[in-house]
Structure formats: C-alpha cells, structure tokens
Subunit: 222 residues, 2 copies
DNA sequence: CTCATTTAGTACAGAGGTGTTCGAGTTGTA
DNA sequence: TACAACTCGAACACCTCTGTACTAAATGAG
C-alpha cells in the first residue's frame, strides 16, 4: 500500500514524522555499512553507527532479523535499480556481458550483507528478495535460447544458478586476494558464454567488453 | 554412525587408555553429525551427541574452534580418501565427469560442516585444508589443457574456483529443493565441459555418466 | 591387583547479545 | 503554542554460549 513516487516502495507508513523517517534511513544506511564490514555486526554497532540510541532502533525494527531483512531489501532494490539501466537488448551474448559487468559490482560490494542475511533469515526469504534480479537474468537467458545463442538442454533455473554462483565465487576469490577486481568480469563472461554453448556448437569469442554498459532505455516512471 | 549416545561403553582395542581415544573419535563423529544438522551446533550439543560430558570434551579440545577444525580436517581427509580411489586417468573430459560425480557427493553431504568452519575459522585455514582436493582438481585440469581438451585462456585458479563453485551452488539448490540430487552431477558436468571449451572450438557432448567412477589408477596405500 | 588416567557432574565466572521498560527531555507538526 | 510523536539513556531481565575448578567415581594398563 505504499505508493511512493520514488519507485522504491519500502513499507514506509506515511503518518510518520520527518525525523523518524530520517532516522530509519540513517539506520538502514548504517546497517548496510556495518554488515558490509562485519556480517555479525550487532544491533549496538548499527545503532551507534546510525547515530541513534539502541532503543530508537528497536522502535523502528522489532527484531534484529527485521532490521537485516530491511537492509537486504534496500540493497536488492538498489541493485535492481542499477540493473534496470543496463541494456539487455541486442545480441544476447553481449547483453549477458553487460549484465554481468553491472551485477558483479553489486555482488562484490554487498556480499557480506547477503552473508548476514543468510545467517539470520530463512533461505526462501532470501530467494524471494532476489526474485526481480533472478527474473532479469532468466529472461535474458530465455531470449538467448530462443535466438539460438544459448543452449536449451539445461534447466533455466540451473543456468541462473550458474550465473549467480560464478559471481559470488569470484567475489569470494577477490576477497581472498586470489583474483583482481578488474579481471573478474572478463573471466565470468568468458566462462559463462562457453558454458551456455550447446554441445556440438562452436564457442563464440568473448565480446571486446567495450565500455558501453549502460544505455538506459530511457527511464520511465518507476 | 559409529557411536551412538549411549553412556559409557566398554571396549578397548587400542593402547594408551583406549578410553580416551575412543571418546575423541566419538566426539569427532558427533561433531560432524551435529554440524551437518546445524552449523551453529554448540559444544553442549556435540558433547551430548557424543555421549560424553562437556568437560571431557574440553579435555580433548581446548576450544570450540579447535574442535571444529578437527572435524573439518577429518571430513576433508575422508573426502580425499574417496577422491583417491577415483580414476582420473584417460580422457580428461571423462575423468572430470568422474571426479565431479565423486566430489559432489561429499560437497553435498558435508556442506554444513564447511559452513560451520567458515564461521569459526579464518579463511586461509579453510583454504589450507582444501589444499589436497584443490590440487587434485587442478592437476586434472592441467592435464586436460596440455592434451588440448580444456581451454588455456583462463587462469587455473579460476577454473578450479568454477568447479568448486558449481558444486557448492548445486548443493545449495538441492537443499532448497530446486534441484533433485540425481540430476546434479549431469548438470555440473555438462556445464563445466562447455565452460572449459576454448572459444572457436566445438563443445563436446557430455559423457554418458555410467557408474564406473572408481578404478583406482595406481595402487598406493589405502 | 593397584594406581594413574580419565570421566561425570555440578557449580561458577564471565562475556555478549537481545529485547523491554520507564521517565524525562526534544522536536516536528497542526 | 500545544500536543503528540519521537528520542534518549540507563537499567533490567533473560538468554546462550564459552571455558574453568573441584570432587568423587570408573576404568584401563601394567
């Protein structure tokens, strides 16, 4: 029921005072920041980082889980907003390259938030929050399948899993200093394009990865 | 499965107060079992499951971390023992198929133990424990590269990461009931074989995945 | 058989976290 | 201005977990 002109409809009841709303925002910002630093950050840490009292925080979020859920939702909404400006039209292989380039940034940046969510929230909730992102990937993959660019002998779900899995694994490797950030998108793309080639077909050469990664399809409302 | 919570047993085949030795084994078994069920299992749970007092457990493992480390090592040793009996000779693609089939079982079964370890132990320790397994995969990949079966344009580390990552992701999906156990090895293999095909080359058809997964190549100790 | 090892059980000490209550002060909004 | 919404800080209650100390009993090994 939250009709927000800002597109990003968090469940923000409108009867709240301005300072309350401001604090909620500060708390969510702090939550994302703290959890990014330490997935086990306590409510105390987050409240302090937000510059509010712990009790105030509990006034807005009944439990720690609820807070983390909200932080996760906010993160995923930001991600979706970025993916929204990524051009997924044209050649599916090149589109996948662009999509990976954009997604990877987000996955890498917020991996610890996701980790925190994994520890606090039920798995299906996390999956649910990812729904929009998953659907974006899936629809691109389907388009590629229809166009004969991607193989059709693997379940769509598995292909999506593959995409997400490689991005997360790369994030892990970067965190462990086994990979450098710059090389990651190229590796993921090169791997995925081959992985999604049908047996009997020729693996395409990876796209040159030129910089045109966003060509916003003229943002409409949201 | 060796020891059940049973109170005090009465058997002593070994030297050095078989009493103690047996308890250590029971504790490790219980640790693996408990952590498999719940990665956050406490020392209390594990001691109870092992049928020993909590204090006894602390007599053998100074801290919880040390216990989890030992459980992890034991798990990985078991894994390595299984992989040791897996035939990694012959056509690299088929060998990879066999290796995946064997590894997948282990990854799937003990994913929660690994998760527990991730929460308690430093990342490099975990990497260290995986060393032998990683090296097995890597040497197979290298052999495939030399034989012209696998592409050479990706870092070896990344290829290993890809293998592990897909197995873990599949384990996740199975746990979430999005995939069935039986179809997983086929999916992973089909994905990997394509992923490791060089651009410009033709993706091979996946091997029929018949059951011959162990045929110990060269007799070593066992 | 005898003794050192090992165990169980209980109790204690401490740390850290979550969530609540309360009264009093502040600040937005009407 | 007046009132309700909001915040603050501290204290409180409660929980779970880790790790240690002590004593009395059992059990294996020589």
């Amino acid at each position: 029921m939250a009709r927000e002109p800002d597109g990003v409809g968090a469940e923000a009841p409108r009867a709240r005072r301005a300072d309350a709303r401001r604090n909620v925002e500060a708390i969510l910002d702090a939550a994302v920041a703290c959890l990014t630093r330490d997935p086990d950050a306590s409510v105390v840490d987050i409240a302090a980082a937000a510059g509010v009292g712990r009790v105030t925080l509990y006034g807005h979020f009944k439990t720690r889980a609820e807070l983390i859920d909200a932080a996760l939702v906010r993160t995923l909404q930001g991600a979706d907003r970025i993916l929204e400006t990524t051009d997924t039209t044209g050649d599916p292989a090149e589109a996948l390259t662009r999509l990976v380039a954009s997604s990877w940034q987000i996955v890498h940046q917020f991996r610890n938030v996701l980790l925190a969510a994994h520890r606090e929230l039920p798995a299906e909730r996390i999956r649910g929050v990812h729904d929009r992102v998953v659907r974006r990937i899936q629809s691109l993959l389907e388009r590629g399948q229809r166009g004969g660019v991607f193989r059709k002998d693997l379940p769509k779900r598995w292909m999506v899993t593959t995409v997400l899995s490689l991005m997360h694994a790369a994030a892990e490797d970067v965190a462990a200093a086994r990979l450098k950030v710059d090389q990651v998108p190229g590796l993921i793309t090169a791997t995925l394009l081959a992985a999604f080639t049908a047996p009997g077909a020729v693996v395409p050469a990876p796209a040159p990865a030129h910089d045109a990664r966003s060509r916003a399809s003229s943002a409409r409302s949201a």
